[in-house]
């Protein structure tokens, strides 16, 4: 029997953490700009940004292979400068970012849309700069949506399987994650190890969701 390997746990955590940081800023930025767009443009961009949520992850993986795989010009270029994404753990960051991003984006956009614009208007007439209004008024008052979004995205990134396995595969000690490890152990008949990773995944996700409920205080009426 092979030795139980903790690398997939560590790898999953770092991949999810790094994608969450990217998703955090990207989600706030895009969530804000899309919430300000006129109806038609909003509808179109919204579809594009939300698609990864409803597409099968394998389809996302397919696109990633086409765009960044070792046969694509971009993929080859990245290889020559020593920064390949295909079949590396960096690639797993891209995969989980793309798949988990819509959760953050949609939640954040929703909370920006329900933000009372009177607050921003009042701020402007008081002479506050737009930057001040964004960071000190808009963001704090959309806090619960932002936290909910990033926690959901993190949970999704931890559990990402389809796009990851297509784009970076399962290379022990390199691209193995919890989700791909479960499948790998199961196919080789190592049910014990598969079960351990199933349990690890369950516990992790439960903790994340508990945290979500803790931060998501009921909104106070004004």
């Amino acid at each position: 029997m092979t030795q139980f390997d903790l690398f997939p746990l560590w790898n999953s955590l770092r991949i999810a953490a790094i994608s969450s940081v990217i998703i955090f800023f990207l989600g706030i930025l895009l969530g804000y700009y899309v919430s300000k767009l006129p109806r038609l443009a909003k509808g179109i961009i919204d579809v594009v940004l939300t698609l990864p949520l409803v597409l099968p992850p394998t389809v996302v993986g397919y696109f990633l292979v086409v765009i960044l795989g070792n046969k694509s010009p971009l993929g080859q270029f990245l290889s020559t400068i020593g920064l390949p994404f295909f079949m590396t753990w960096r690639g797993a960051i891209i995969a989980s970012t793309v798949v988990a991003f819509p959760l953050m984006y949609r939640t954040v956009r929703g909370s920006f849309e329900s933000f009372d614009e009177n607050l921003a208007d009042a701020g402007k007439t008081l002479g506050l700069s737009n930057t001040y209004i964004f960071w000190r008024i808009r963001i704090p008052n959309c806090k619960s949506g932002i936290i909910a979004g990033i926690v959901l995205a993190f949970a999704r990134a931890i559990g990402e399987y389809g796009a990851t396995s297509m784009f970076v595969g399962y290379i022990q000690g390199k691209t193995a994650t919890i989700a791909t490890a479960v499948y790998q152990y199961w196919t080789i008949g190592n049910n014990t190890f598969a079960l351990i990773y199933v349990l690890i995944n369950l516990v992790l996700s439960a903790i994340v969701l508990l945290g979500l409920n803790y931060f998501e205080k009921p909104r106070r009426n004004r």
């Binding site: 208007d121 009042a122 402007k124 007439t125 002479g127 704090p140 004004r222």
Partner: protein
């Protein structure tokens, strides 16, 4: 203050065509909801951009579509208090007030000193660390006012400042706010649908109807001579009838009576509910009383003239609580109390 505004803005099917000039200290814009009052304030504050036109405040051009001038709200220095007061929910009372001082880049001590001064003045002591959701309507309004006053605006815009408050608090708060605003001597434009509020707070009142200002006058003058149908309604005149001029008589079509014509064009006349008097067969008009309802300190009588048009509304007559009018058959009204309306 001097304000000149001549702007157009369309929004869906609504067209705002606002044009007026005022040099008064407090101007009230009185209009029904949806008449374009708030939109006007937002254009002045720079929150909405008019399609075309010009806005000049105290000789400063803040908007001029021809010369492509459109100052940002930050550069207009106009205080704007929206209907819901827009206190920042994530900040305490002091932090909210501090945002009004932010632009002056003062040191910490000076900020604290000014916050303390305004908190004392507006009687907000003890609430410094409260969050907006912990405040009553009146307190929230005072915090909003404090936040604006510390920012030293050249002009104050108040959008329905008392609409969200309970009736029993209203009058007291109106007086208090007026006192404070007068103390700071900041010219003010306020928007309201409440004639009492407009009368109490303003020197001059403009009537807004369907996106335009139809008349603007010193307040006493306006209540005496509203000139327009909608202005009469908004100043609280309950009884208005269509009229038609026949030789030297005015035929009051809805009421089925005639009065002496005057040398003035009018399509309607109005008589305020408290301007009817008991009369007799020789000099009065015959009426039939429909009903009497009691208000806290007055009685409201509904009656119809003998030949009143069947489709027209009952006429309202306000009388003292102690008067008995059940047997009244004839009423009259003074010529000087008639409002001739276009």
């Amino acid at each position: 203050m001097s304000i000149f505004i001549n702007i157009k803005k369309s929004y869906k099917t609504f067209l705002l065509e606002m044009c007026f000039e005022s040099k008064t200290n407090t101007l009230a814009l009185l209009g029904a909801s949806g008449s374009g009052k708030s939109m006007t304030l937002k254009c002045i504050a720079g929150i909405l951009k008019p399609d075309s036109g010009k806005i000049i405040i105290n000789d400063k051009v803040v908007f001029d579509s021809e010369n492509r001038i459109n100052l940002s709200p930050q550069r207009r220095n106009i205080g704007y208090m929206p209907q819901n007061y827009a206190l920042f929910p994530n900040m305490s009372v002091q932090e909210n007030i501090a945002t009004g001082l932010h632009k002056f880049k003062l040191d910490k001590e000076e900020i604290e000193k000014q916050i303390k001064e305004i908190i004392d003045l507006l009687q907000l002591t003890g609430l410094e660390n409260h969050k907006p959701h912990q405040l009553s309507g009146g307190q929230a309004q005072r915090v909003a006012l404090a936040r604006i006053l510390v920012s030293r605006p050249d002009l104050l815009l108040l959008d329905e400042p008392f609409a969200a408050l309970d009736d029993y608090l209203k009058t007291r708060l109106q007086m208090k706010s007026k006192e404070i605003i007068d103390k700071f001597n900041i010219p003010t434009i306020l928007v309201t649908h409440n004639r009492d509020e407009a009368y109490l707070l303003a020197d001059e009142i403009g009537i807004i109807d369907k996106g335009s200002l139809i008349i603007k006058k010193e307040k006493k003058e306006l209540f005496k001579e509203p000139e327009f149908y909608s202005a009469a309604l908004l100043t609280g005149c309950k009884n208005i009838t269509k009229v038609i001029k026949e030789k030297n008589k005015l035929n009051l079509l809805d009421w089925g009576i005639t009065i002496e014509a005057i040398n003035k064009d009018c399509s309607y006349i109005g008589v305020r509910a408290h301007n009817f008097k008991v009369s007799n067969k020789n000099s009065g008009y015959e009426i039939q009383i429909i009903g009497i309802s009691e208000e806290p300190f007055e009685k409201l009588v509904r009656f119809r003239f003998k030949n009143q048009n069947i489709d027209s509304e009952d006429v309202y007559w306000k009388i003292n609580k102690n008067d008995t009018v059940e047997d009244v058959k004839y009423i009259e009204f003074d010529k000087k109390d008639i409002l001739y309306l276009k």
